[in-house]
Each structure stands twice: as structure tokens, then as C-alpha cells.
């Protein structure tokens, strides 16, 4: 099969549009959800609230132990039978966000446990209210330590967005497959996807490393 440059240039705008409108947006929203929800999971597991902590732990284990495509199927195709219909893009954001929240929660937990006991004792000695202990002392310090792991998870989530093909979200790889199918040429669209992924993942990991060094010296 030969590379057809004219065809490649013709389809590039559509693929790029799908990348910007869906792949990037879904990754960003799911990251935001994972960051917040993961924090909630981590704190619940750390402060040991009866029942709630056990339920959360069970949910986290369950979610981590099942693959994303199956979770997508469940939420998108089976929940409507129980009266809960969620749009495809929203489903994508929810499933990816909740799935990665479970990984984020573990990372946060590691970060929280890395806070020296002296910091907690200083908070007690200063009578800091519980909320300020977390918001002002523990979490800001934990975030610095865990940023590299979080960054890696975001990049890996970014690369799992194509799973949303299963629920027909028109993200980049779905669009590329569609173009391939209707023109009987798959090389150009899928190569373009690969290159776009490469060109965006690499700068992201470089930016991540820069941020890390900056936080270390802050």
C-alpha cells in the first residue's frame, strides 16, 4: 500500500477536529473528575469513616479490577434499562474519570502517608481546624510528591480515549476508522492518529518533568 499525500491532507482537518473537540476535551474533563473524586476517595479511606470507608474501598478495588470497555458497555447500554440514560460523551468522561479516580486515590494515599508525623503534630499543636490541616498543609505537600505519577496516569488515560469507539463517541480514532472504512484506505487516517498522539504525548511528558522540577524548588 502506498502513502497518498493528497488523501492524507484532505482528511487531516476532520481528524484534527475530532482530536481537539473530543479526545482532548474528554481527557481534560475526565482528568478533572479523577483529580477531585480521587481526592475524596483517598480522604474517605484515610480518615476511616465506618461503612463509607469500606464501601469506597470495595468500589475502588472493583473498578480497578474491571476493564474500561466493559464499564463503558454497562453504563451506556445497560443503565438505560434501569431508567438511567446518559449521553455518549458524558458516559466517556464519567467512566474514564471514575476509573482513573480509583488510581488517583491510591497515588494520593501514598502522598498523604509520605507526610512526616511532625507535620500532623504541628497542626495539632497549633489547633488548626481539620479542614485547614488538609487543605493548607497535607494536600499541598502531598500533591508535589505525587505529580509525576499523576502525570503518567493522565497520559495513559489520554491514550485510552479510543476505547470510546465502543459507545460511538466521535473521538479521533473513531473518526479515522470511519474515514478508512468509507474510502477503503486505513493507512493514512490511522497513521495520522498515531502521529498526533505522539506529538501531543511527548510535549506533555516534557512539560510534566518541567513542572516537577519547578515544584521541587518552590
Amino acid at each position: 500500500m502506498k502513502w497518498d499525500m493528497d488523501f492524507a491532507l484532505e482528511i487531516l482537518p476532520d481528524i484534527l477536529e475530532a482530536f481537539l473537540r473530543y479526545t482532548l476535551v474528554i481527557t481534560s474533563l475526565a482528568t478533572l473528575l479523577a483529580a477531585v473524586l480521587g481526592m475524596v476517595f483517598a480522604v474517605i479511606r484515610y480518615v476511616r469513616i465506618p461503612v463509607l470507608t469500606q464501601v469506597t474501598t470495595g468500589f475502588v478495588q472493583f473498578t480497578r479490577a474491571t476493564p474500561i470497555p466493559i464499564q463503558l458497555f454497562f453504563v451506556y447500554y445497560l443503565l438505560p434499562d434501569y431508567g438511567l440514560t446518559i449521553g455518549a460523551v458524558t458516559t466517556g468522561v464519567l467512566v474514564l474519570g471514575v476509573h482513573y479516580a480509583c488510581y488517583f486515590a491510591e497515588v494520593y494515599r501514598g502522598g498523604i502517608e509520605s507526610i512526616p508525623p511532625g507535620q500532623w503534630e504541628a497542626c495539632t499543636a497549633l489547633s488548626l481546624p481539620q479542614q485547614a490541616v488538609w487543605r493548607r498543609v497535607v494536600l499541598p505537600q502531598a500533591v508535589r510528591k505525587i505529580l509525576p505519577s499523576l502525570g503518567n496516569y493522565v497520559i495513559s488515560m489520554f491514550k485510552e480515549v479510543p476505547f470510546l469507539v465502543f459507545i460511538s463517541v466521535p473521538e479521533m480514532v473513531t473518526v479515522a476508522r470511519g474515514i478508512g472504512g468509507s474510502n477503503f484506505r486505513y493507512v493514512e487516517p490511522l497513521t495520522i492518529c498515531g502521529i498526533i498522539y505522539l506529538l501531543s504525548s511527548y510535549p506533555a511528558s516534557v512539560a510534566m518533568r518541567k513542572l516537577e522540577t519547578r515544584l521541587e524548588h518552590a
Binding site: Q119, A125, S127, P129, R136, P140, A218
Partner: protein, 269 residues
């Protein structure tokens, strides 16, 4: 371990800090054994003794960093670890502990400054969030305190940009920013290089002379203890061996245990 419940002990005139048969155990290990201590408001008391003798545990119990295994601690007429319910004392809830803690400040061996905040933020965080002080007022007071420990020009530095001695002086200022009635000093110079100790002790000497804060000091700096203390308590194995004014303890100790300890510490220093 939960604080035991019991009926109210007979009312009596309690001193400012009053330990009533205080026990502390870790598993089978008894650290404090039926300890009774009375400390007056404004008194500067130094606790000396070999490591493991329970000195630091006394400070940590007062700061509520360790739970009580038995007995009562009274601070300014109120039980620290208990609440009165009718004529009974029940284990205190978090709200009571938080209220009681506000009158007590502590300076730690390893400073424990918040590394994610500037020096000034370290000083204003608790007054604003715990005492509800207006920000401008907290900042003004923080600057005053930084000036008094000789670090006025360091307010925008982060702790890791300071020497150990400077960090400890910030930690002292941070504790004072809460205007505590009681200040607990737990081996505050033990982690410092020798040339940095004098600066920290200077700040504390000044504090002891010019304020009426009640101070409990655990230290191995015997000259400092002699200079600032109203009273020295010698501990061994969770009990007070002897206590008295510094001149008596350092120049004319009664017990062999004290004599041996002092000669060991002084020859090492």
C-alpha cells in the same frame, strides 16, 4: 486507648497545671507511673533526666499528642482530657480538646515548620484559621514576633532556605503567635549545630525573662536550665526523683541518681 471514665475526684484548689495520678503505658511498657505534678501560672520548669524517663511524654500529653492511660490533667481549673458531665468526668470530645489546646503551644526538636508556606504564612495560618483573627492583625503580630526573634527580613523565605537555628526561631515565633498561656519546649536545640544553639537559647532566655508564659522545658542544656528555670525536676523511669530550685538541684543534689546523671551530662557537654 480511650480515656477511662470515672467519678469526679474531690474538689480541691488546683494549681495552674495539675497532674493527678497520671499514667501512660505503651502496651506493657509503663512510661509514666502515678505521676503528680503541680505547676503555677508563669512558672518556668525544666525537666531533666535520662532518655526514656518520660519527660517528653509529659509534654506530649499536655499537647494532646498522646492519649492518657490513667489519671487526670488539669489546666487552669479545667480537665484537659475529660469533660464534666453532671458530677462525672467523661472522656473529652474533639471540640473540648481543640478549645483546651488553644492555650498551649509547643516547639519541637525538628521544628516541624510547614515547608509549603513562607515564614510569614507559617506564623499567620493558625491565628487566622484557629483563633479567627483578622488577617491584617495576624500579619502585624507575626512581623512583631519575627522582629523579636531577629528574623524580620526573612518573612518571605521558605523554611528550607533557612538554617536550622533560624527555622527553630521561626517555630518559636509561630507558637507564640497563638498567644499561648503555656509553652512546651521539647529538646529544641538537640537537632541544631553547636554554633546555632546560642541564638535559639538567647531568644528563649529573653522570652522567659520578659513574659509570664508558663514554660515546660525538656533540655540537655544545663546552663540554660539553671539560668531560666524557677524549678528543675529530675526524672527517672517515669517518676520524679527530686525537684527544687536550680541552685539546689545542680549544686547540691540529694539523690545519687541525680548526681550521676548530672556528672554524666556535664562531662559530656
Amino acid at each position: 486507648m480511650s480515656t477511662p471514665e470515672s467519678t469526679l475526684p474531690p474538689a480541691k484548689d488546683k494549681s495552674f497545671i495539675h497532674f493527678d495520678d497520671v499514667c501512660k503505658q505503651y502496651g506493657d511498657l509503663t512510661v509514666l507511673d502515678d505521676l503528680c505534678i503541680d505547676i503555677d501560672a508563669g512558672e518556668k520548669v525544666t525537666l531533666i533526666g535520662p532518655s526514656g524517663s518520660g519527660k517528653t511524654t509529659i509534654l506530649r500529653l499536655l499537647m494532646t499528642l498522646e492519649t492518657l492511660s490513667g489519671g487526670y490533667i488539669w489546666v487552669d481549673g479545667k480537665p484537659l482530657w475529660h469533660q464534666q458531665k453532671g458530677d462525672r468526668l467523661v472522656p473529652a470530645d474533639q471540640k473540648h480538646l481543640r478549645e483546651m489546646r488553644k492555650q498551649i503551644g509547643m516547639v519541637f526538636q525538628h521544628f516541624n515548620l510547614f515547608p509549603n508556606m513562607t515564614v510569614l504564612q507559617n506564623l499567620i495560618e493558625a491565628p487566622i484559621r484557629s483563633l479567627g483573627r483578622p488577617k491584617e492583625q495576624a500579619i502585624a503580630r507575626a512581623r512583631e514576633l519575627l522582629d523579636s526573634v531577629g528574623l524580620a527580613e526573612k518573612e518571605s523565605a521558605h523554611p528550607n532556605q533557612l538554617s536550622g537555628g533560624q527555622q527553630q526561631r521561626v517555630a518559636i515565633a509561630r507558637a507564640l503567635a497563638m498567644d499561648p498561656k503555656i509553652l512546651l519546649l521539647d529538646e529544641v536545640t538537640s537537632a541544631l549545630d553547636p554554633e546555632l544553639i546560642a541564638g535559639v537559647l538567647g531568644v528563649l532566655r529573653e522570652l522567659a525573662e520578659t513574659t509570664d508564659i508558663t514554660m515546660l522545658i525538656v533540655t540537655h542544656e544545663m546552663h540554660f536550665a539553671r539560668d531560666v528555670s524557677d524549678r528543675v525536676m529530675m526524672f527517672d523511669k517515669g517518676k520524679i526523683v527530686e525537684q527544687g530550685p536550680p541552685s539546689q538541684i545542680f549544686d547540691d543534689p540529694e539523690h545519687n541518681r541525680t548526681k550521676n546523671f548530672l556528672s554524666a551530662v556535664l562531662s559530656a557537654g
